[in-house]
Amino acid sequence: MSASKTIKMLSRLLCAALLLSPGFAFADYELNLIRGVTEVSHMQYNLHMLVLWICTVAGIGVFGVMIYSIIAHRKSKGAKAAQFHESTLVEVIWTVIPFAILVAIAVPATSGLLLLESTDKADVNIKVTGIQWKWEYNYIDEDGVKFISQLDKASDDARKLKSGVDVTTIENYLLNVDNPIVVPVKKRVRLLITSKDVIHAWWVPNLGVKRDAVPGYINESWFYAEEPGVHRGQCAELCGKDHGFMPIVVKVVSQADYDTWIAGQKGAASASAAEDTKVFSMDELMARGEAVYTKSCAACHQANGEGITGAFPAIKGGKIATGDKAGHIDIVVNGKPGTAMAAYGSQLSKAELAAVITFERNAFGNKKGDMVQPSDIK
């Protein structure tokens, strides 16, 4: 550790010590709750500060009495033990006072909770689907705007065990994605949150939104950003092997930029649809398949196709990849319920599915020699 880093650490320890003493301003954001950028996150911050101060004052009171007693009432100072051991009046007083404080906390907490849960009315509706280990966003007011968002490549390469990459050189390490979600400023955005496999939680601290993505449920949440900006978050519910590696990036932009972005997304969607009727050569399928494999399959089945014994089956010499074509297409498109194998039919385009299945049948020493075309995917 460099000398400057050590000094920084010591100064923070000092800050922490100061935090414990009364009168400290609680100004350092690295010690305290994120204040965020929305009405909800400000409400949460204010409520947090209220309860924190109540606890601080109560703590100083109780600890103060205990410390005084420990210093003053010790045998070595000749203290003689009093024998009182009961007082109904005192018991009633110190039952009623905490209760009154709780009522005082409950009032703003109730109105805060009602604000947080007021999900009616929205300008933009986005369906958010958690998938091991990425997010799918579907702009349900904008026909065909739907995409997968997952950890960016720089972070993904660096986070591999013993990658040798200094992660401090990676910008927004583990908090960056390939396709961020884009929303307009000063608009109420409603999120409809669900999951395809296990439970995830969509959390962006700055927006004050954390909501579980539960299969079979559609949970609602909302935010309203006053200023343009970029806000980052992570999955907050343990969802398996790569739980730590499914970040969220929200870009808040002007209405004009948002409209341009939506138009661009729609163009990309129609280009992708046009491909679904094309016939590709083996080389085209293999090259594209490798790219899709790296992005969508390698997390479990591994870059070398050998899988992980006991958890994820191998593609290399695997029963399905060297078996008949229809079975292979079926498992990729429809997944395998009760396992981490997702149904990729809704995540990848037909061309991408055709490419990746072809790749799996002809890479890692699997030499099936057959091709899958987009038209084979039903």
Binding site: A16, L52, G233, G240
Partner: protein
């Protein structure tokens, strides 16, 4: 010793003696503490720096999962049962537990349950990829349903449940039937009271846990869909059932700790416990409330707002009886004549740091802010303050308090105090910074993080290594005390009150063959 009993391994395998069984429980808990602790060391080592240096992500998840399960079911709970076995008969003037053969059985199930829990880690495939349970100690469906050796986990939980239920029945039967003449309920030492209430909690919730894992079993292997949305089931149902067990479970771990501390503080303040009756009522109130607050673990799961409001109000109510307890301990110390032998240090450490965990518990109970705190390191800091500096501190305090009675030897006071100060400084360096990274936005159960969390994680890890190493000293002190040391008097502590201090040290193999008279 004139007592007739088998020797060697047979003494321990076939024993029906509450003291032997207490010893077995305590040693089992200590071994599990070291095993679970070594997993915590792996966790802190990987989190020492950003980037993945030591283990694969799934192995990391397995470490957090097994650490939690082993500490909860292997270390804290069995240690508390160990105390109950040793102390309850001696404190109420009974010759032994009411059901001695069942007592033997409830202990000897445990090593098999632990083996079944741990074995899958070493089965099939690459050890370094994490072959054991890796779905968190809360084993939420549907994630746990993806695990292909789930049956081991489920049967281990069933066995642990059998053991706990039998242990609880035994404790209740003992307390209700075996008290010495004159030992009315409201004269019982507070430790006995807290265990009586804990035993009822266990009997109420362990079958619920058994139900939850049985539904998991049939979902996984027999085609049912209790928790599978695709089959018409409900993944959120699992969380309701789990936390209906899980929330009382946290009080199962802390109520006996309250009891231990309530024995120690009056002894070293040389003053009776303040508000004995209110302590009993507060314990009962906490136990009752523990059944009606479970969904505060699930505020973000998507409950109706009326449900969230109810669970928030009910949850913060727990602060009232808990505050009463802290005030009573403080009032017990007030105007006492205090000395600070090692057990008292640990007990005072408990009151201070458990209160910090109580404050963060109140903060977490306030639902709107819980949406930010939930599943972050703030929660990790909170429950380690109540379970490590709470439950574990009380266990260590209890060991120092009663080991002279158990072994007939005094522990080494200097080393005991050194153990306390090393542990207390390091445990705060370990857990206090976790509040900060949690508030800054670091989720729990992640093996790697953005460098903005790096400094506090490095400090936390250093504290963790020091705290782990300090417990080796505890082991050394215990072995030294068993092997020798200054002879303990019968009363052990100056003016100590209670039946256990009226019998010789070490406690004879059989005590109170004729019941004592309690005035």
């Amino acid at each position: 010793m004139s007592d007739h009993h088998p020797t060697g391994i047979k003494r321990w395998l076939f024993t029906t003696n509450h003291k032997d069984i207490g010893t077995l429980y305590l040693w089992f808990a200590f071994i599990m503490l070291l095993l679970g602790g070594s997993m915590a060391m792996v966790i802190r080592a990987e989190l020492y720096q950003p980037g993945m240096q030591l283990v694969e992500p799934n192995f990391f998840n397995m470490m957090t999962t097994m650490h939690g399960l082993i500490m909860v079911f292997g270390a804290i709970m069995p240690a508390m049962v160990g105390f109950a076995n040793w102390q309850v008969p001696m404190m109420i003037g009974a010759p032994d537990m009411a059901l001695p053969r069942m007592n033997n059985w409830s202990f000897w199930i445990l090593p098999f349950a632990a083996t079944m829990l741990v074995t899958p880690m070493f089965m099939g495939g690459d050890f370094m990829q994490g072959q054991g349970p890796a779905f968190g100690w809360t084993f939420y469906e549907p994630l746990s349903g993806q695990y292909n050796k789930l049956a081991f986990f489920i049967f281990a939980v069933h066995l642990l449940g059998f053991s706990s239920i039998m242990g609880s029945i035994n404790i209740i039967a003992t307390i209700f039937n075996m008290r010495a003449p004159g030992m009315t309920l409201m004269k019982m030492p507070l430790f006995v009271w807290t265990w009586l209430i804990t035993a009822f909690l266990l009997i109420a919730v362990m079958p619920v846990l058994a139900g939850a894992v049985t539904m998991m079993l049939t979902d996984k292997y027999f085609g049912t869909s209790f928790f599978d949305a695709a089959g018409g089931g409900d993944p959120v149902l699992f969380q309701h059932v789990f936390w209906f067990f899980g929330h009382p479970e946290v009080y199962i771990m802390i109520l006996p700790a309250f009891g231990i501390v309530s024995q120690i503080i009056p002894t070293f303040a040389r003053k009776p416990l303040f508000g004995y009756a209110s302590m009993v009522y507060a314990t009962a109130a906490i136990a009752f409330l523990s059944f009606i607050v479970w969904a505060h673990h699930m505020f973000t799961v998507g409950m109706p707002v009326a449900g969230e409001l109810y669970f928030m109000y009910a949850t913060v109510m727990i602060a009232v009886p808990t505050a009463v307890k802290v005030f009573n301990w403080t009032a017990t110390m007030w105007k006492g004549s205090m000395t600070f032998e090692t057990p008292m240090l640990w007990a005072i450490g408990f009151v201070f740091m458990f209160t910090i965990g109580g404050f963060t518990g109140l903060m977490l109970g306030v639902a709107p802010t819980d949406f930010q705190y939930h599943d972050t390191y703030f929660v990790v800091a909170h429950f380690h303050y109540v379970l490590v500096t709470g439950a574990l501190y009380a266990i260590i305090a209890g060991v120092y308090f009663w080991i002279p009675k158990w072994t007939g030897n005094m522990y080494n006071e200097k080393l005991g105090k050194l153990h306390f100060w090393l542990s207390t400084i390091s445990v705060n360096v370990l857990f206090f910074p976790q509040h900060f990274v949690g508030l800054e936005g670091m989720p729990r159960r992640i093996p790697d993080y953005n460098p903005m969390f790096a400094d506090w994680n490095a400090i936390s890890s250093l504290g963790g290594f020091a705290f782990g190493a300090s417990q080796i000293l505890f082991l050394i002190i215990i072995i030294m005390t068993i092997k020798g040391g200054k002879k303990a008097t019968d009363q052990v502590w100056e003016d100590a009150e209670g039946l256990e201090w009226s019998i010789p040290s070490p406690a004879p193999y059989h005590t109170f063959a004729t019941p004592p008279e309690v005035k």
